[in-house]
Symmetry: C2
Subunit: 343 residues, 2 copies
């Protein structure tokens, strides 16, 4: 049970702990021969340095924290390796931390910065209504990815890469209109959603108006407030079923997330409604699943790779060149697929 420490290794090697430390950390001023010898003993004894002790002692580090909110978010999963690689190109390490969807990413970040002497942070996802105080508390440069921060938060307090949820949603609905759909139902987030769900809904409303289609509140469907379950296929399926039962007239379903769209698609197809002939279907985000669905589902692809790359670039421009906070808004790619090819 007693675990082996640096002292044990030192003793076994007849050297001082500092020498062992040097061996571990690839210090230049150490005899290669002694180093070899020490590393051998380390191997044999399965010695692993205590990270906590290292963190506690280290005064500097070259590492960037990556705080990912939601371990199974597929968009974030695609960004992660891009971030790690990008950060490595600046000769920095990455420290990846997953936190739950209900966790406090700023608080977690604060802890990490203290403990691991992080030089910077990249947030994947997060609360859109952070206070000024929250943001100011973070003592290192940071970039928020894919968070629609409230307009009220001063832009000079944080950097960000994002997509314009309102605008891209507008584009999508405009596209649907151009395809001839006139009775478009939207599967939105929950009523209380003030973030992407709300913004995408607003885009829907305005795009319809611009196409001189009256916004029918009956065609606006909110998710029930089942928290984590909102952006799920199951929720899309439930809404789809209810929509069909309701008897409301529609010729297209637009879901504010691909996962919802997939569930909705199933509900439609199951009821014998043909897509796209009798009803169009569209999602948002650009998940791989939409491509392999049958019919393939029209979606707005978020340029996750580019966003991740830019997040790193922005972070290091602040870190190395002392530049100010920056905001970069990316355009999505409208992937028009089978689910909206009416004719």
């Amino acid at each position: 049970m007693e675990s082996v420490t640096i002292k044990d290794i030192a003793k076994r090697c007849n050297v001082a702990v500092s020498t062992v430390s040097r061996a571990i950390n690839n210090h230049p001023d150490i005899n290669p021969e002694t180093r070899r010898k020490i590393m051998k003993v380390i191997e044999e004894n399965h010695y692993i340095p205590n990270n906590s002790a290292q963190n506690l002692k280290k005064s500097v580090s070259k590492t960037i924290g990556v705080v990912i909110k939601g371990a199974d978010n597929q968009l974030f999963a695609k960004m992660r390796p891009v971030l790690v690689e990008g950060i490595a190109q600046y000769d920095y390490d990455s420290d990846i931390e997953y936190i739950s969807i209900s966790g406090d990413e700023i608080r977690e970040a604060l802890r990490l910065v203290k403990e691991k002497r992080l030089k910077g942070l990249i947030f994947l996802g997060g609360n859109h209504n952070r206070t000024e105080e929250d943001l100011k508390a973070v003592p290192v440069p940071f970039v928020m990815c894919t968070v629609d921060m409230d307009e009220t938060v001063p832009k000079d307090l944080y950097s960000s890469v994002s997509v314009d949820s309102y605008q891209e949603s507008y584009r999508m609905v405009d596209h649907l209109c151009s395809k001839g759909y006139k009775k478009i139902v939207i599967f939105s987030g929950s009523r209380g959603d003030e973030s992407v769900g709300r913004l995408r809904l607003n885009g829907y409303r305005d795009a319809l108006k611009a196409n001189r289609i009256e916004v029918d509140e009956q065609r606006i469907w909110y998710s029930q407030d089942w928290a984590e379950d909102v952006f799920s296929m199951a929720n899309g399926y439930r809404m789809g079923k209810k929509l069909i039962e309701s008897g409301i007239d529609f010729d297209c379903v637009y879901a504010v997330a691909d996962s919802i769209a997939i569930g909705a698609g199933r509900a439609l197809l199951e009821s014998g409604i043909r897509i796209p002939e009798e009803c169009g279907l569209a999602g948002f985000d650009g998940l791989d699943e939409t491509l392999y669905y049958h019919p393939s589902i029209t979606t707005m692809r978020q340029p996750v790779k580019e966003m991740a790359e830019d997040a790193v670039k922005i972070l290091f421009s602040m870190l190395h060149k002392g530049e100010a906070n920056q905001h970069r808004v990316f355009s999505c790619k409208l992937e028009a697929r089978e689910s909206t090819q009416k004719e």
Copy 2:
């Protein structure tokens, strides 16, 4: 930049650090009044205890480590909350750690146990060919989930909950045969796969034999060795395309993972092949996607919830009652869906 420590709090409160420590850790022997006062100052100064220092100093803990290999594994994502809740019922904390698919889970576990004084471990996924030495090095009870450990590894060195990949795969293929499919193609893992891919393939071979169907090596398709990409929809799609191009005669595709099946399904449908009329389709694992696909895809559902619950139960039976290592094999649920409803 200078972060606030326990000393600062002590100073601000005119008490000793030990008193602050008591306040933080809810020690019984502290005046509620002083405690209240201290907590207030802690709030005001946004003090967060340094976890590294705590870990370093703490001699005991009531926490179980959960090492998850592959952050975006959907099966694991479903098990996680079940594990956390189960562990909490024993009044223990959970420490969740994600490691990459190529990481060394045992090594990581060793580090964690040392640093955080973990009382036990639950592994989600991992290398199937660990050595005895590896397993023996883990100084606390642990349970492996969903790992088909090699037969050569002594069973008394670890606990496990798992499914019988060979047997369940056999059942699936048997089911396909009973549905009248006679020319079943299998989309397997890579050639070198000695784990689930191999076991499921063996089940396929034997089930065919049992049904007096000759195993045609032409119908056994291996994934190209693209490492992480093997169990992906993209891979399934590629294989599906190639299968069709090959001109080989087949009436059913059985993929050793649902993700592969979904990609394959797309390839088939895209080529105008109707499922299930002209070709059956089946996967393995029980991902939600299979249910919302159109047609819904027949799959072997792994009882992830039950497995997670049992993992916790086994762990604490060892921990509290000193019981020996145990192995529990769960049955999958054959979900016969539209993709194999021939008539």
